[in-house]
């Protein structure tokens, strides 16, 4: 550096000093920058690397295919069907409204749909497909395909939707799936991200709900690289997940359909059970709802109609319908009497009424049955005999026997809503009514009226336990899950003497197969298929003294709600019981008139499905049923 003299020299010195100072400050600034880089790129690098990965990698769930529900022979009851849809990608059309107008020529788009579509368009990124029409027919789908060049932004698409092959016939067993509710998401928290998948559905009722976890499967995941706008750049890895497991029911769809067809127009229920395994072969509650409608969304009006229907289509009557068992109860009363030491040959004279204190208890047969022993009392369903017997043995033994034979309890069946019913007793009355048991109530209980309330399922269990010789078989609806058979628990022997059970069996045989039996008209004549049954007519109204004097009004002349419930229980074949059935037709009239023929037809259908019975009555080979291996 040269020496510059004079006043310029002082200027130069000041300048140099300050310039070097500025240089130093710059150096310091660079040190700060380098330090900051070290902090970000070395000390905090791991944290930011993770954040960068979170930015870049998006996990897209892949919904697993829901497991099928099939009957015991592998016939599909609920499966997945391809759902032809039309989707719209907003960014591919210059004018969404115009495109929708064109699409509306092929598929109906209501103003409501249109508003919903426009809302979806606004809410989601423009490159994401939005469903504009679902459940297209093949023709509509083909038209969308053909017209694709003209429908800017619209693409045909195939999704999966739950298909219920038998609709309402199985609604009360299979249940339904529907879109995930807010509460489900809340309950599951972050454990099940599948629930947040748009369009995902969960089981809401019946088997669909009970085995939802097995049916659902395990979500797959696709790791994709996305850009800042969420558009997928490429797929990094893919895990297809695991499809849901198949659930095999105990039902035999052929019997189920036969039973349904027989009861479809009534408010009725029926349960057919294997008396040894407890397998429920048919499970009917009519009328029912359409499970597919629940899946796609019931309209308000339709749903209110369901709620207000007097036939109660939303109630699963086979397990939630409570009915007085009526005369069907006499079977267990007879067993109770045997256990209490009553001589079955002891005869009671029926003159049409039984007097206790100052009250008359009437027999259903005006004028009476005459002399009745136990067998004939069951066969003819004599009320007076059972008033007398009940009075003699007392309520305690009746209560005990009824419970042993399956009444007054629930079975944790795979469908929800099971009712326990009532088997009345002294403790029960004191606990629920606060008053002590009256003898008159014992009499009424003896004919299955009064407090006693049962479900059709319980009646079927009761019948099965009588039919199998006194084993406490329990009903079940599910045979296998995911290929694994569920082995039924061995039914424990009920502590009753074989003669007692044989007595009830014999009485029921008399009902159906001996002339004069209350269901003789509804017998099965084919040898080897004979059934043994018991009728029941449950009164739903009180018959006044005046009416009894002038003649009880016939059911046909009463309004529907006032008519008696018609009940029938049966097992078959008589020689070697295999199946038990219970049929309850609400306000159907008499058990013998309304319920017995139905039960017979269903039982016949059931028996004809049994290869052994087929062989015995008809040497022709049975129809080939494809059994799907688990």
């Amino acid at each position: 550096m040269g020496q510059i003299p004079g006043r310029d020299g002082s200027r130069y010195k000041t300048f140099s000093r300050r310039a070097i100072l500025l240089g130093g400050a710059q150096g310091a600034a660079f040190v700060v920058l380098a330090g900051r880089m070290y902090y970000l790129q070395v000390l905090k690098s791991d944290e930011y690397t993770m954040l960068a990965e979170e930015n870049r990698v998006n996990v897209r769930l892949i919904a697993p295919l829901r497991g099928n529900i099939v009957d015991r022979y592998g016939r599909p009851l609920a499966s997945n069907r391809q759902n032809y849809r039309a989707v719209l990608i907003a960014e591919q059309t210059p004018d969404i409204e115009a495109t929708l107008d064109k699409l509306a020529r092929i598929v109906e788009i209501t103003p409501y749909d249109r508003r919903k579509i426009m809302r979806d368009v606004k809410r989601s990124p423009r490159f994401l497909p939005i469903t504009v029409a679902e459940d297209l027919t093949w023709e509509q789908f083909a038209q969308v395909n053909i017209n694709e060049p003209d429908l800017a932004g619209v693409q045909p698409d195939v999704g999966e939707t739950r298909h219920y092959h038998y609709g309402s016939e199985l609604a009360h067993v299979v249940g339904y799936v529907s879109p995930v509710s807010e509460s489900e998401i809340e309950k599951a928290g972050d454990d099940e991200p599948l629930l947040r998948l748009p369009g995902f559905r969960t089981g809401k009722l019946g088997i669909e709900k009970r085995y939802d976890a097995s049916l659902r499967g395990v979500a797959g995941a696709s790791h994709v690289e996305v850009n800042a706008y969420g558009r997928v750049i490429r797929e990094l890895s893919k895990d297809p997940g695991k499809p849901g497991q198949e659930v095999v029911l105990t039902l035999d769809m052929a019997v189920q359909q036969a039973a349904w067809d027989r009861l479809a127009d009534q408010s009725a229920s029926a349960v057919v059970m294997d008396v040894h395994s407890g397998d429920i072969m048919a499970f009917i509650s009519t009328p029912a709802y359409d499970p597919t409608q629940f899946n796609m969304g019931y309209g308000d009006k339709e749903y209110r109609a369901l709620l207000n229907d007097p036939y109660l289509p939303l109630v699963n009557k086979a397990i939630a319908g409570l009915y007085p068992p009526g005369s069907t109860f006499k079977t267990v009363v007879a067993i109770a009497a045997m256990e209490a030491g009553v001589d079955p040959s002891h005869s009671v004279h029926c003159n049409g009424a039984y007097t206790l204190g100052n009250h008359d208890f009437h027999c259903w047969k005006k004028g009476g049955h005459g002399a009745m022993d136990m067998h004939n009392a069951i066969k003819h369903s004599c009320d007076v005999y059972f008033y007398d017997t009940a009075r003699r043995i007392g309520i305690d033994v009746i209560e005990k026997t009824a419970k042993q034979f399956g009444l007054g309890q629930s079975y944790d069946l795979d469908v929800p809503g099971e009712k326990v019913g009532v088997v009345p007793g002294r403790d029960w009355k004191l606990a629920t009514q606060g008053v002590s048991w009256q003898q008159g109530e014992t009499l009424i209980t003896g004919i299955g009226q009064g407090f006693v309330l049962t479900t059709p399922l319980q009646l079927a269990v009761m019948t099965a336990r009588i039919a199998n010789g006194g084993y406490a078989v329990t009903p079940r609806l599910t045979r296998a899950i995911g290929g694994k058979l569920i082995v039924p628990k061995a039914a424990p022997k009920i502590e009753v003497r074989p003669e007692s059970v044989a007595m009830a069996q014999g009485g029921m045989n008399g009902v159906s197969n001996e002339p004069g039996g209350t269901a003789y008209r509804s017998r099965i004549a084919e040898p080897g298929m004979e059934l043994a049954g018991k009728t029941g007519t449950a009164q739903v109204r009180r018959i006044s003294k005046a009416e009894r004097d002038t003649g009880v009004i016939k059911n046909e002349n009463l309004e529907w709600r006032q008519r008696d419930h018609a009940l029938f229980i049966a097992f078959a074949p008589v020689q070697a019981p295999r199946y038990a059935i219970s049929v309850v037709i609400e306000h159907g009239g008499s058990g013998s008139g309304a319920a017995a023929p139905v039960a017979r037809d269903i039982m016949k259908a059931m028996l004809l499905r049994d290869p052994e019975i087929q062989q015995a009555i008809n040497p022709a080979p049975p129809p080939v049923v494809k059994v799907k291996e688990g």
Binding site: R11, R18, G23, L33, Q41, V42, T49, A52, R56
Partner: protein, 382 residues
């Protein structure tokens, strides 16, 4: 080596100037710019268009301008200082009236096909005018209050116009550059202490007149996580990109933050982030080192200059350059609020590249004519 003293007091021949020109300096600038070319090539996913090629051409043009400007006699630049300032002032004023609005502010002037940013020209013109003014003052005269009226106006008038656009970043840069010249010219410390205090006192008043987006930038700077999807998004994503780059980076053209668009403005203001993501700490420090060498070489030019105009001008150029580098890099690292300041020589952009090369041309002119003594009095030149 040459004995430079023999040129003292005499005009130099063009060939001599070519010999004197610091070619290593230009090479250094080219090295810095090349890192920019590489990043612009990467931003375009491995393509020279639309950015890299145009940037290379601009640098070429800029290098030409630099050479021409450097060859012009420093005394001529001193003579042109006030006229250039006057033209720049008119252009800046014109922006307020007929400027093109962009990014919420008026910054461009469209003249035929040309788009110019008068504030860029003003940055150089301001340095020229102040250097010219203080060249004429002795050390004692500098600190006299009446001598400060003109230079303060030289700074404040364009600053006021730029604030009106509104372009806060440029306004601060202009003020800071001006202050540096005042400082280097020898203005007494107490003036800086006094004005520093005044600025602090003025902050509340300025704050009340700021635009919402400007306030938001400050808020966001103070707490970037306050609104990670909104205003803080840029800073947060920039830090993620840098941090995830680590020591050696994700590799050239492999930056996920940049290529998947999480990083905004990556070819302009956030290009340093992209470099840090793809080339890591190593790449970032290399670029900073190159910048630092440029600054130290420039400082040396100022110290070797034998005339006050050259000293002040070259120091003004280098410190302004430093401001750019520092503000931009500190911004992308989350040390300063987001202000629209490009990374010099590296960010894509025509006006800033050309005006910067012009400024370096002035610096080189001061270097080539460093032994040229220029009398203090104005009479010698006009």
């Amino acid at each position: 080596m040459f004995d430079l003293r023999r040129f003292t007091g005499r005009d130099m021949r063009l060939s001599d100037k070519f010999m004197e020109f610091n070619w290593g300096f230009l090479l250094l600038l080219a090295a810095i710019a090349s890192m920019g070319f590489a990043m612009l090539y990467s931003v375009a996913d491995g393509s020279f268009s639309p950015w890299a090629l145009r940037q290379i051409i601009r640098f070429g043009v800029g290098a030409g301008i630099l050479l021409v400007v450097a060859m012009v006699d420093l005394r001529l630049w001193m003579q042109l200082a006030y006229p250039i300032y006057a033209v720049a002032l008119v252009l800046v004023a014109a922006v307020d009236v007929i400027g093109v609005t962009g990014m919420g502010a008026q910054r461009w002037l469209s003249i035929g096909p040309l788009q110019i940013q008068p504030s860029e020209i003003m940055k150089i013109a301001l340095l020229l005018a102040l250097a010219r003014y203080f060249h004429g003052l002795t050390l004692d005269e500098v600190s006299r209050l009446r001598n400060l009226i003109v230079p303060v106006l030289i700074v404040m008038v364009p600053v006021a116009l730029v604030v009106k656009q509104p372009d806060l970043g440029t306004a601060i840069l202009l003020s800071a550059s001006g202050a540096v010249i005042f400082f280097a010219a020898g203005l007494r410390w107490r003036y800086f202490i006094f004005s520093g205090t005044s600025v602090l006192a003025a902050i509340p008043i300025v704050w009340s007149r700021l635009h919402d987006y400007q306030r938001n930038r400050v808020f966001t700077f103070l707490d970037p996580e306050r609104d990670p999807m909104g205003a803080g998004y840029h800073i947060l994503q920039s830090k993620i990109a840098l941090g995830s780059g680590g020591v050696f980076g994700k590799g050239f053209m492999e930056g996920t933050q940049s290529h998947l668009n999480f990083l905004p403005e990556k070819h302009t203001d956030f290009i340093f982030t992209m470099l840090g993501e793809e080339l890591g700490l190593v790449g970032g420090l290399l670029l900073l080192t190159l910048y630092f060498i440029v600054l130290m070489l420039s400082l040396n030019v100022s110290l070797e200059c034998r005339n006050q105009f050259g000293r002040l001008l070259s120091l003004g150029v280098s410190v302004t350059f430093f401001f750019y580098v520092f503000i931009n890099t500190a911004m992308v690292m989350g040390l300063l609020p987001v202000v629209g300041v490009p990374l010099p020589l590296v960010s894509y952009g025509g006006t800033s590249m050309l005006s910067l090369m012009f400024a370096f041309g002035l610096l080189m002119s001061a270097y080539i004519h460093r032994n040229q003594e220029i009398p203090r009095g104005p009479s010698a030149f006009w």
